[in-house]
C-alpha cells in the first residue's frame, strides 16, 4: 500500500515531464504545410499507382505533357507548350517546353517522353519490369511514340481515341525521369524524380512523405518551403489531429465533422463536386426492371434530396444523369434530376405490371467512392417499400461485391450499388452502357443495357477530334440514357477539405487532385 502511495505521484510527475515540451503537438512549423492524408502511399511512381490518395502527392512532384486548367477538367499545356492533332485523329505531335530539367538534373526532352510510354507499354522495354503498371490501358491506343527532334515528340494511335489528351493529364500520364528509373529500378517508386513544383525529399514509412520547394520550377518556385504528407487512416483521428493543431490541411473530412469545422473561426472549409457518380445498376435482362416504366419508377421513388442532405450530410449533390456536372463542357444542362414523386412511381409500377415480387439489392459495406453505402442502401430500401416494392438487401465486403457485380447481375440480383470516378466523360458510359461492354465481352455493363443509338453516339464521340462535336454527342447520349433509365441516378460526391485559417490561396479541383503550387501559409 505504501509503495502504491509513492507510485502515483511518480507517475503524475513522469506524465508532466513528458507533456512539457508541447510545442510540436500544438503547432506546425512556419512555411511548411502539413497535409493529413487517408493512407500511406503505395508508391511515388505515377505509372504504378491507382489511388487518388497517391495522386495527391504525385501531382505536386511531377508534370504531364498537359494538365487540367485550374478549376476545370479541360486540358491546357504543361510540359508540352503546344500540340497538333492530325485530321484523322491518329497522330498527336507535341512541342516540348525548352529548358526544363528533372529534379535529378537530367533534361526533359523527346527521348525522355518516349522512354516513359515505352516503359509502360512495351513488354520488351528493359525497364518494363519496374512495374506493374495497372492503368497503362489508358494508353493502349498508342501504337508508337517517336522522338522527332530534341523537343518534338509524336504519338501514333491505332484508332482515333478522343480521351487521349485527357488521359495524358491524368497521373498515369505524368513524366518521370528516365535517369532515375535506370538508377533505382524497381525502387524508383521510393526514389522519385520528376519536373514538378516540389522535389522529393524523404519518405519515412508509415510516418511521412516530405517534398521541398523546387527552386528551378519552370512555372515559378512555390512559396512554401516544404509540404509534409502524413498518412492518418482513421477519420476520427484525422479530425482530432486537425483540431489539436497537428495538421494544416486535411482531405476527406467525415460529413459530421465538416459541419463542426464550418462553424469554427480558425478553420476554412472547402467543397468541390467531382467527376463522380453514385448510381444503382438495374438488371434489364430479367425480373421487374426489364420494363422501362419500372426503372423510371425507381428513379421517381427515391428521395435523393433527403439522401444527400441527411444520410450524406450535404457532402454530395443530387445526380441527374450518367455524366457528372463536373465535366462542364460535356454535361447536358437541360436534364433535371428525376423529381421525388412516389405517386408517379406507384402509377409506373402498375403500368409495368409489377406485382410485389422480391427485388434483390446488392449493397457493399464500403469501397472506393461508395460514400456511405449501407446507410444509403437502407434508405433506398425504405423509399422503395413506400411505393410498394419489396426489396431484400444482400451486403458484401467490397472485393467480394465487385466479384459478384462485375460479371453481371443475371441470376443473382435485380439491383446493385455502384460508384465511379473518372477523368473523361467517355470512360464511364463507354465501359458500362454499350452493348459491346456486356460482362461476357469483358466490359462493366452489369445490368445489360443495350440501345443502338447510344452505342453509335459513344463510338462517334470517341472518334471525334472536335471537342464541340464530342460535347454535342455526349449531350444527346445523356438525354436517351436519362429516358431509358438503365440506372437510378443518385448522387455526385463533393470532396471536402479543411485548412487552418493560416493557409491561403488553396482551392480544391474537380479532378480531386491536390494542387499546392500556389498555396501559402501565413
Amino acid at each position: 500500500m505504501r509503495c502504491a502511495k509513492h507510485l502515483f505521484p511518480m507517475a503524475a510527475a513522469a506524465m508532466m515531464v513528458l507533456a512539457y515540451p508541447s510545442e510540436s503537438a500544438a503547432q506546425t512549423p512556419p512555411n511548411v504545410l502539413i497535409v493529413g492524408q487517408i493512407a500511406e502511399p503505395q508508391s511515388l511512381d505515377p505509372h504504378a499507382v491507382t489511388a487518388v490518395n497517391d495522386f495527391r502527392i504525385l501531382m505536386n512532384v511531377y508534370d504531364g505533357l498537359v494538365r487540367y486548367a485550374d478549376g476545370t477538367l479541360e486540358v491546357e499545356p504543361a510540359l508540352a507548350e503546344s500540340w497538333e492533332v492530325s485530321e484523322d485523329g491518329l497522330t498527336y505531335r507535341f512541342e516540348l517546353r525548352d529548358g526544363v530539367t528533372f529534379h535529378d538534373g537530367a533534361p526533359l526532352n523527346a527521348e525522355a517522353v518516349k522512354f516513359n510510354f515505352d516503359r509502360m507499354l512495351d513488354e520488351e522495354h528493359p525497364y518494363h519490369d519496374t512495374g506493374p503498371f495497372p492503368l497503362s490501358f489508358f494508353f493502349s491506343a498508342i501504337e508508337n511514340v517517336e522522338a522527332v527532334d530534341e523537343l518534338t515528340v509524336e504519338f501514333t494511335l491505332s484508332e482515333p481515341y478522343a480521351p487521349f489528351l485527357s488521359n495524358l493529364a491524368y497521373p498515369t500520364g505524368l513524366i518521370v525521369s528516365p535517369a532515375a528509373v535506370e538508377q533505382h529500378g524497381e525502387d524508383f517508386g521510393r526514389n522519385p524524380s520528376g519536373t514538378g513544383a516540389y522535389r522529393f525529399e524523404e519518405w519515412a514509412s508509415n510516418q511521412r512523405v516530405v517534398v521541398t520547394r523546387n527552386e528551378d520550377y519552370w512555372g515559378g518556385a512555390p512559396e512554401l518551403e516544404a509540404v509534409v504528407f502524413r498518412p492518418i487512416t482513421d477519420a476520427n483521428t484525422r479530425v482530432a489531429e486537425m483540431l489539436s493543431g497537428g495538421l494544416d490541411l486535411m482531405v476527406e473530412v467525415p460529413p459530421d465533422a465538416m459541419n463542426d469545422f464550418r462553424q469554427a473561426d480558425d478553420f476554412q472549409v472547402y467543397e468541390q463536386a467531382g467527376p463522380h457518380l453514385w448510381f444503382l445498376i438495374l438488371n434489364m435482362r430479367e425480373g421487374p426492371f426489364t420494363e422501362k416504366a419500372a426503372r423510371q419508377a425507381v428513379n421517381y421513388a427515391i428521395d435523393k434530396q433527403t439522401l444527400v442532405e441527411d444520410v450524406l450530410q450535404g457532402t454530395a449533390d443530387v445526380a441527374s444523369g450518367p455524366i457528372a456536372p463536373a465535366f462542364a463542357w460535356a454535361y447536358n444542362e437541360e436534364l433535371e434530376p428525376y423529381p421525388y414523386d412516389p405517386e408517379r412511381a406507384r402509377q409506373l409500377l402498375e403500368e409495368a405490371g409489377y406485382e410485389g415480387d422480391t427485388v434483390t439489392f446488392y449493397v457493399t459495406e464500403g469501397g472506393s467512392g461508395m460514400l456511405d453505402p449501407v446507410a444509403m442502401g437502407t434508405a433506398i430500401q425504405a423509399d422503395l417499400a413506400e411505393v410498394g416494392m419489396n426489396v431484400e438487401i444482400e451486403t458484401y465486403e467490397w472485393n467480394t461485391f465487385l466479384d459478384r457485380v462485375n460479371p453481371g447481375l443475371e441470376g443473382k440480383a435485380d439491383m446493385a450499388e455502384m460508384a465511379w470516378m473518372t477523368n473523361d466523360p467517355d470512360t464511364l458510359p463507354f465501359l458500362t452502357l454499350r452493348t459491346e461492354a456486356f460482362p461476357e465481352s469483358g466490359g462493366f455493363n452489369s445490368g445489360y443495357y443495350s440501345n443502338e443509338e447510344v452505342d453509335e453516339l459513344l463510338n462517334q464521340a470517341r472518334a471525334s477530334t472536335d471537342p464541340e462535336e464530342r460535347a454535342e454527342l455526349y449531350r444527346q447520349m445523356q438525354e436517351i440514357v436519362y429516358e431509358d433509365a438503365p440506372w437510378a441516378f443518385i448522387a455526385n460526391w463533393k470532396q471536402g477539405a479543411v485548412t487552418t485559417a493560416a493557409v491561403q490561396n488553396f482551392g480544391l479541383q474537380p479532378s480531386f487532385f491536390l494542387m499546392l503550387h500556389d498555396v501559402t501559409k501565413q
Binding site: 507533456a19 515540451p21 503505395q42 487512416t233 467490397w398 467480394t400 465501359l431
Partner: protein, 315 residues
C-alpha cells in the same frame, strides 16, 4: 532447461509452416484477388489477367506456395505489391513499432495489475478493495478504441498536452523523449484491459496464499506485515500470475490492432488489416509469420519464468 527450450523452439517450425499454409489457403479462398483490389473500378477481366501476369499470380496455387516457401528458406520474404517494397523491411519496421507499444503496455499492465491485485487482496472487502475492484471492472469493460478516442480528446485536443497520433513528431523530434510522449496515450489505452485481468487474478491468488499456514507462521515469527505480504505471499502468488501475463502478452499483441488504428501507430496490426483488404498475400504471410512466432515465444518465456519462480516445476 536448455534442452527443454530447444525442444520447444523446434516444435515452432511445424506450427509456423502449418500456419502459413492455412493463411495461404484462406487468402486464396476469399473472393477478390490483388489485381481486382489494385484496379478497383477498372478491373475488366482483360486488365486483371494482364496485371496478374505482371504480378506472377497466374501460376497454379501449389506452385505459388512452394515458390514462396523456397524463397523464404533463402531469407527472401518477397516484395509487397501494395507497398512496392520488400516484405521483410516493412514487417520488421512495423513489428518493432508494435513491440515498443505492446511491450510498454504489458509492463504498465504488470506493474499496475500486480499492485492493484495485492492491495485489494490485503484490504479484502475494505474500501480500498471496493474502489480498486470498481475501477478494474470499468477498465475490463471499456472498449479500448473508445477509451483511446476519449484520451485523445482530453489530452491532445482539449489540454494540448500530448500528441494525438503518430510515433514521432513530424518535424524535428525523433529522439527518446519524443517517442515517449507519443507512446504514453496508446500504451495506457492498450494496458487497461490487461491491467484489469492481471489485477483480478493477482487478487484471487493472493487471497489464497494469505490463508496458508506458512503465512501465519511468518506473522507469528514477528515479521513486519510488509515483508509478509510483498516477500512471502506475493512471490508465491506470482507463480500463478506469470503464465497469465504470458497469455496477456498475446492479447495485447492482438488488441494492438485497434489501438494502432486509433493512434495511427505504425505497427504490424494496422499493416495486416490493410494487407488483407488489398489481398497483399506476401505481406500477410510475412506479418502472420512474425506475429505467430512472437506469440509462441512469449508463452515460452512465460513458462520459463514460471519454472524459475517455482522450484517444483523444475525437473
Amino acid at each position: 532447461m536448455a534442452a527443454y527450450i530447444l525442444k520447444r523452439l523446434l516444435a515452432l517450425v511445424p506450427v509456423l509452416l502449418g500456419l502459413t499454409l492455412i493463411v495461404f489457403l484462406i487468402m486464396a479462398a476469399i473472393p477478390g484477388d490483388p489485381a481486382t483490389a489494385i484496379l478497383g473500378s477498372y478491373a475488366t477481366p482483360e486488365n486483371v489477367e494482364r496485371l496478374n501476369q505482371q504480378l506472377g499470380l497466374n501460376r497454379p496455387l501449389p506452385e505459388q506456395y512452394l515458390l514462396w516457401l523456397g524463397n523464404l528458406l533463402e531469407g527472401d520474404f518477397g516484395r509487397s505489391y501494395s507497398l512496392n517494397r520488400p516484405v521483410l523491411d516493412e514487417v520488421l519496421e512495423r513489428f518493432s513499432a508494435t513491440l515498443i507499444l505492446a511491450g510498454s503496455a504489458l509492463i504498465l499492465a504488470s506493474i499496475f495489475g500486480l499492485l492493484a491485485g495485492i492491495v485489494s487482496a490485503v484490504r479484502q472487502f475494505g474500501w480500498t478493495d471496493r474502489i480498486v475492484t470498481f475501477f478494474v471492472l470499468i477498465g475490463l469493460s471499456t472498449p479500448s478504441f473508445f477509451l483511446g478516442l476519449l484520451l485523445i480528446l482530453v489530452f491532445a485536443v482539449n489540454l494540448g498536452l500530448l500528441p494525438a497520433s503518430g510515433m514521432y513528431a513530424i518535424y524535428g523530434g525523433g529522439d527518446l523523449p519524443d517517442l515517449l510522449r507519443h507512446l504514453l496515450l496508446p500504451a495506457v489505452t492498450l494496458a487497461v484491459v490487461a491491467t484489469g485481468v492481471i489485477a483480478r487474478l493477482t487478487r484471487t491468488a493472493m487471497l489464497e496464499v494469505l490463508r496458508q499456514d506458512y503465512i501465519r507462521t511468518a506473522r507469528a515469527k514477528g515479521l513486519s506485515e510488509r515483508r509478509v505480504v510483498y516477500l512471502h505471499a506475493a512471490k508465491a502468488a506470482l507463480v500463478a500470475v506469470v503464465p497469465v501475463i504470458g497469455i496477456q502478452a498475446g492479447f495485447v499483441l492482438g488488441g494492438a490492432v485497434y489501438i494502432e488504428t486509433v493512434f495511427q501507430w505504425p505497427g504490424i496490426g494496422a499493416m495486416l488489416v490493410k494487407a488483407i483488404s488489398t489481398r497483399d498475400i506476401l505481406l500477410v504471410q510475412g506479418g502472420v509469420l512474425v506475429v505467430a512466432a512472437s506469440y509462441v515465444l512469449f508463452n515460452l518465456a512465460a513458462d520459463v519464468a514460471q519454472s524459475s519462480l517455482d522450484p517444483r516445476l523444475r525437473r
